[in-house]
Symmetry: C2
């Protein structure tokens, strides 16, 4: 069979392949990216299904509009008001997870050979999606307080990329959050002549999972031209629903609706309506507060265990929210080599290389803290510290 040219370079998610290795229950996996299932609102979903099917009947199971369930779009638009952002429900498109938002925006904007700015390191799911469109990646360094803005400005000026994709809060994989100053600076660069050919895509799956410090406004707050935001219920309600959204100016939404019609007609009416009913009958903020508390404890356990058990030459981020923490090993180390040693110690993580589009990141790795108890985390870090120590000795 003759497959399309794009399939020659397409790669399966490295992480999904790793997760197969870690199926052994004796292995403490800090590799995945799963939200903690103990906070999934199972009973409330049974009740929401009963109530919504009772009230709306067959409409819950019928075809519906590509744009999405009106109640859900209104809920999302309203939630942006906390930041003083005025989106009308017409500027919200419900997507089949925010991963689909990436695919739709890629279809709307990207021709083969176009440049796309991603961060070093950057979100793997976005890298995979953009790759299928035959783009050139023009990566920009991620510093402790956000993107290197001088480098960003230079890349925009020199490469005229179509898109700049960023995750400004508790980024996956690094845990890095943009400072307020960097948010303002990015918005100004996008508005400057250097940025005039480039659309900002601001992805925010983890923003509501802050357990330390102050919430910061989206970059959009400072933008003086159109941009697109991606959002998701995966981390604040449940990922198995596959419900996310694009919030953007009407011109962008209209194009996204056209390509979504051809991609899957619309997102599951059933899942959308049950979610909307859950949100109507329950207090989302109180629910998120419980998740924050749990993840905060787990992050604390991981940070403390790293301080205690990792050799001092290994550098770790200490994120104020989200689900991930990022390790940089000393010069000359390889996290791929460490992976094998760690599996022998019965602990797993994700090596950093796949998060780089240029093949670098060899001595980095990602740790997840959302989906293990503090005890398991402490034990896992102890094992990993042992593996790192042995590697440094040899």
């Amino acid at each position: 069979m003759r497959f399309a040219t794009r399939m020659q370079t397409a790669q399966r998610s490295f992480i999904r392949e790793i997760l197969k290795v870690t199926a052994d229950p004796q292995i403490i996996s800090l590799a995945g990216g799963l939200p903690s299932p103990e906070h999934f609102p199972c009973a409330a979903f049974v009740e929401a299904t009963r109530a919504e099917l009772g009230d709306a009947g067959p409409a819950c199971l019928q075809y519906s509009t590509t744009e999405g369930h009106p109640e859900l779009r209104a809920f999302i638009a309203k939630r942006y008001e906390r930041w003083g952002l005025n989106f009308s429900p017409d500027e919200i498109l419900i997507t089949t997870g925010s991963q689909q938002g990436l695919d739709l925006l890629a279809k709307v904007f990207l021709d083969p050979g176009d440049a796309v700015v991603v961060e070093r390191p950057g979100y793997l799911g976005a890298i995979q999606t953009f790759s299928l469109f035959g783009v050139r990646f023009t990566p920009v360094e991620l510093e402790d307080d956000g993107v290197d803005t001088a480098a960003l400005e230079q890349v925009l000026r020199a490469e005229r990329p179509k898109l700049y994709y960023t995750v400004p809060n508790f980024q996956n994989p690094s845990g890095v959050t943009f400072s307020q100053d960097k948010r303002v600076a990015v918005a100004e660069i996008m508005y400057s002549p250097s940025g005039e050919d480039t659309v900002l895509i601001e992805d925010n799956p983890y923003g509501e999972l802050r357990f330390l410090g102050q919430d910061l406004p989206p970059i959009r707050k400072f933008m003086r031209k159109p941009s697109a935001l991606l959002g998701s219920f995966s981390k604040i309600v449940a990922p198995g629903l596959r419900i996310g959204w694009i919030a953007a100016d009407k011109e962008v939404i209209e194009q996204c609706v056209t390509v979504k019609q051809a991609a899957d007609l619309h997102t599951s009416t059933f899942a959308q309506r049950v979610l909307a009913r859950f949100l109507r009958d329950n207090d989302l903020d109180a629910h998120i507060e419980k998740i924050r508390k749990t993840y905060g404890e787990r992050r604390q356990a991981m940070v403390e265990a790293i301080r205690e058990h990792f050799p001092s030459q290994a550098k770790a981020t200490e994120p104020e929210g989200g689900m991930f923490l990022w390790i940089t090993l000393p010069e000359g180390c390889s996290s791929l080599a460490l992976f094998d040693a760690a599996i022998q110690e019965k602990v797993a993580f994700v090596p950093g290389v796949p998060f780089y589009t240029d093949g670098s990141g060899e001595r980095t790795l990602r740790l997840n803290f959302s989906n293990a108890t503090p005890e398991r985390i402490t034990e896992g870090i102890k094992r990993l510290g042992r593996a790192i120590g042995r590697m440094l000795e040899s």
Copy 2:
């Protein structure tokens, strides 16, 4: 903003635009393509949700594999055994509606400029999806008993298309079903040197909705090389779930999984598990039998009303299943002009032009019979007959 080249030719669904015109409740709409909501199993879905969330708990709301819920894949594979087709569950990929199946197969197979065979007329959703990939359509005439096989062989030989997309049972829009002979002939042509560069995609959303005549096996049954089948629960359970599938040889499924990861990670775990539970606890065949009976009565009402109320110069298909019936007006008539006259009579249909990739089909139109009572159908056809009669007079 600089949108991608593909957006210059992208079109919104003409049908969705028409449906807005027909929101007026006084208008009898034979335009849509909705399954009848009276047969949606609402109460059974409440129960399936309760049972599945009770038994499987948070797993119903967690991320899951791109390939799909194992129980659902096994159910689908088993159902093909009725035709003596042996698919293993590994050869079934769950998709977010069969519309997504089209998008995934297009990504896997199509480069810009590739030729794709569709039928004249052909399914609009497929035409839209393939269009976004910059293909050349090489349409082949649909006759009363299926595709014109001589023309198909010639097009395959001359154009070396990547794909031949067909809907062999009760096609949307025409209602045409391939005879057994044509099925065998298509399989042989695909296997011949003329077809060796072309993959058959056999889409079957309506196959189970036969109310007259004999069920016929999929073309796959006669195929001597790989092909892909698309299926859907939209017409036999409920479209709002957005659950369909691709059944294909492992090599094709693997490529589809890679692009599905980037498209939406996986189809809603919640919708998949509730559906699987519904299928475990209910008799799908008994459920389909009820739908068949209702649609059969409605089709009969439409066929009889057409015989009584349409001028004899208008030709109508009399399908043995599915949801649609196809009208060809006499030479010189325009179904677009008729549409305006029909709206004045308070009845709506879909003009045929968008189902043709070459701008033809001007005197054709599609009628839907699944989503109106026999009384409304009879009255709608009477009104439409009046509008056609007046058009022929003038």
